[in-house]
Structures are given as structure tokens and as C-alpha cells.
């Protein structure tokens, strides 16, 4: 019967809307393997959307058939309902349509808006940047130490003259490797759904939490990839130094004032992780995490497509 499916999907949606993201954003293991954690976050986002819309749709279409595909087909072909249709069926149908339209609409809107802003930034930059000594990078004449990349079909990797002046050659290579990792792995696409859904669901605290966690993980992942391509004697320390310089910390040694917990911030977490690398996740934990991500996607899909067995 469809109502059991709807209830199961609703429970899954509730779990994915609050306890699961809260647990994952507090967990300590993601910093040990940012890539696996990013896969889990994508699965949570997708499965969450799928199960909440699915729950509403399954309940709304229950009078039309015994499985969602069947009920959907009867509904589309104006087949008469097999069971009495009540008001709540119409309400959940409408909610499902509104929610689906909002989530997808915001995703598209966010994509378009970001693409436009990027084009504008690229236009502004292209008039003033010069080729840098590093291949593929552009130099921006500005005293502040900044580096960034603008993703897209023609990615732009920009270093400020302040950054070049304050870093030595190895540190600069580390910064460039970090930015290239973002571009090569298309990290902006991993972030897009979380940006969009934070905008679509501002009332859901988990959306903001998930966005912050994914943003931090993407930076850690880029650090990890950068380390793989660095050749210096102490690449971890080199990258950590570059981060500290870019954060404006290039001045003399400060007076220790250790009361504040630096690990509370995403940047502090990044530096701490570089200086004292956590042990990598054991293979079986990695496999288990990836299998859970796959299961997270398969469960709502199966619930939606298979005829209810009960």
C-alpha cells in the first residue's frame, strides 16, 4: 500500500533534514578523508530532496494506484481514482509540485546568477591582469596577499602582486597547486546545490550547516591534492605557511595568548590539519562510508519505483 511507502519516505526525509547533517557536520572523521565526506554530503542532499518530494507525491497520488509509477500514469491519463480522493491528497500533490519547482528553480537561478557574476568579474579582471611568472596564472597589481580562481570554460587563476611579494617560490607553487585543484576537480559544482538549497530553505538550519561543512571540506580536499604535486622538502609546512601569510599573519612572532581555540575556525582547522596530519581513514571505514552514500540514494529510489510489498 502506498501510505506505508509515504511514511517511510517521510521518516527518511526527517532524518536527512536534521539529525544526519547535524551528525556529519560535527563528526571528526571528515577531516581525515574530505573526498569521502564530500560524496556523503552530495548523497544526503540528493536523497533528502528525493525523499521529501517523494513522500508528498506518494501520499498525494495514493488513490490512483499501488505503486508510484502506476499511480502517476493513471493520474496523467486522467484515469479515475480507485479510492476516494480527499482534500489532503490534493494538498500534498500541490506541495510536492511547489517544492520540486522551488528546489530545481533555485538551482537553475543560482547557476545563472553565478555564471553572470563570474563573467562580470572576468571582464573586470582581464583589463588589468598581466601574465604571471607561473604558467596559466595572471598577476593582479594589488598590495594585499590574495589568490583566487574563477571557474568556468576559460578558468582564470589570479595572484596579487602582494601575494607574489610575500611568498617564496615554494609557497607560491603551493598556492597555485591548491587553486588548480579547485579548478580541476570542479569544486564549484559540488558547492552549487548547497548554495542553492540554503537560499531555497532558509528556515532549515541544516542547509546552512551543510553549506559551511561542504565549503570547508572542499578547501581541505584542495590542500590534499596540492600536497600531492609539491616537491619541496616539507610541503605540508610550506602550504600552512602560505595560508598564514595570506591570512595577514606574516609579521613578527606574536605573544602566545593560547586561550582561544583556533581549531574552532575553518581556517585554523585547515592549518592544524596540515601541521599535524590526522591518520587516514582505514580502508573498511572508507568503503562503509561510500556504501552508505550509495544506499542513501538507493533507498528512496527503490521506495519510489517499486510496487509496495506490504
Amino acid at each position: 500500500m502506498l501510505p506505508a511507502t509515504a511514511a517511510a519516505l517521510a521518516v527518511l526525509a526527517a532524518l536527512l533534514a536534521w539529525p544526519v547533517p547535524a551528525w556529519l557536520s560535527r563528526a571528526r572523521w571528515p577531516r581525515r578523508d574530505p573526498l569521502v565526506a564530500l560524496v556523503c554530503w552530495q548523497a544526503i542532499g540528493l536523497a533528502g530532496g528525493l525523499s521529501i518530494i517523494g513522500a508528498l507525491l506518494v501520499h498525494g497520488l495514493a488513490p490512483w494506484g499501488h505503486s508510484l509509477p502506476e499511480a502517476w500514469w493513471h493520474w496523467v491519463t486522467r484515469h479515475p481514482a480507485e479510492a476516494p480522493v480527499r482534500g489532503d491528497h490534493w494538498v500534498t500533490q500541490t506541495l510536492a509540485a511547489v517544492l520540486a519547482a522551488e528546489l530545481l528553480g533555485v538551482l537553475v537561478l543560482s547557476w545563472v546568477r553565478t555564471a553572470r557574476t563570474r563573467r562580470r568579474h572576468r571582464d573586470l579582471l582581464e583589463l588589468v591582469v598581466e601574465p604571471a611568472a607561473v604558467p596559466d596564472a595572471r598577476l593582479l597589481d594589488h598590495p594585499a596577499p590574495v589568490a583566487f580562481c574563477i571557474p568556468g570554460a576559460k578558468p582564470l587563476l589570479v595572484l596579487s602582486s602582494g601575494m607574489v611579494a610575500e611568498l617564496d617560490e615554494e609557497q607560491l607553487a603551493a598556492v597555485v597547486a591548491h587553486e588548480r585543484a579547485h579548478l580541476r576537480e570542479h569544486h564549484h559544482l559540488l558547492l552549487l546545490p548547497f548554495v542553492a538549497w540554503e537560499a531555497a530553505l532558509p528556515v532549515l538550519p541544516a542547509a546552512g550547516r551543510a553549506h559551511a561543512a561542504v565549503r570547508a571540506l572542499v578547501e581541505m580536499r584542495a590542500d590534499d591534492v596540492a600536497l600531492g604535486s609539491l616537491t619541496g622538502a616539507a610541503p605540508r609546512r610550506t602550504l600552512a605557511q602560505a595560508i598564514v601569510v595570506a591570512a595577514g599573519g606574516s609579521g613578527g612572532a606574536g605573544v602566545p595568548d593560547g586561550a582561544l581555540a583556533v581549531t574552532g575556525s575553518a581556517l585554523g582547522e585547515r592549518v592544524a590539519r596540515l601541521l599535524e596530519p590526522p591518520s587516514p581513514l582505514p580502508g573498511w571505514v572508507r568503503t562503509a562510508a561510500l556504501l552508505s552514500a550509495v544506499a542513501l540514494l538507493l533507498v528512496p529510489t527503490a521506495l519510489l519505483l517499486l510496487p509496495a510489498a506490504l
Binding site: 546568477r113 568579474h121 583589463l127 597589481d141 587553486e179 564549484h188 622538502a233 600552512a240 599573519g249 593560547g258
Partner: protein
């Protein structure tokens, strides 16, 4: 063969350093070392106008000037791309975002405290 982007930059440099408006012919002569055709200069100017960086007057021949000074352009760029108004999403990958003085100091201490993990074989 110079890319269009590079030509745009060269033309903008000319316009920024010129006194008042400049005609396309003058621009071509000023960039003589590049051996540009007048049509190329016009193409570049049209692109710059579409992007909103150049405006022209109705004199004959048409004369072009930058919409903002070089300094204004730089300020606009810093504000939009890196400033508070900057869309965090568009510049995905700022290496390190803005940090306040306290956090910068803490990061420095963290670095000073660590002996360096690469020093000892892990």
C-alpha cells in the same frame, strides 16, 4: 597573434593614459607596433563598449573614452571581486578569505608551535 583579451587590455591602457577622448585611427597609430587593422581596433572597441568599459561621443569621427578612470576600475574590481559585496560563490576559490587580526595571530602561533610534520618521517 595577440588574443582579444590582450588587445582589449592594450586599448584600455591607451584610453586610460590619453588626455580626453581618442578616435579609432589614433588608437591604431598609437598601437602601430602591433600592426593592427582599423577593423580590429573597432572590434575591440565594440567589445569594450558592450562590456560597459568604454563610451563614445557623437563627433565625426567617433571618439572613445573610458567610462571610469584606471583607479576607479581598480576600486570597482576590488570591491566586486574581493570585497564585501563580492559574490562568494563566483570567486569560489579565494585561497584564504578575510580574517580578523585575532585569528591571524592565532594562525601564526599555531605555525610557530608546530615543529613541522615533514621534519620527522610519518
Amino acid at each position: 597573434m595577440a588574443s582579444l583579451g590582450e588587445l582589449e587590455r592594450a586599448v584600455m591602457d591607451r584610453l586610460w593614459s590619453a588626455d580626453g577622448a581618442v578616435s579609432a585611427t589614433e588608437l591604431r597609430d598609437g598601437l602601430a607596433d602591433r600592426g593592427l587593422a582599423l577593423t580590429t581596433v573597432h572590434t575591440v572597441l565594440t567589445r569594450l563598449e558592450q562590456k560597459g568599459f568604454v563610451v563614445h561621443d557623437d563627433a565625426r569621427p567617433r571618439r572613445f573614452r573610458p567610462r571610469a578612470t584606471r583607479e576607479e576600475h581598480a576600486a570597482e574590481l576590488m570591491h566586486e571581486v574581493l570585497g564585501a559585496a563580492g559574490d562568494r560563490q563566483a570567486v569560489l576559490a579565494r585561497f584564504v578569505g578575510s580574517v580578523d587580526a585575532d585569528e591571524a595571530r592565532l594562525l601564526r602561533e599555531l605555525l610557530a608551535a608546530a615543529a613541522g610534520p615533514d621534519a620527522t618521517p610519518a
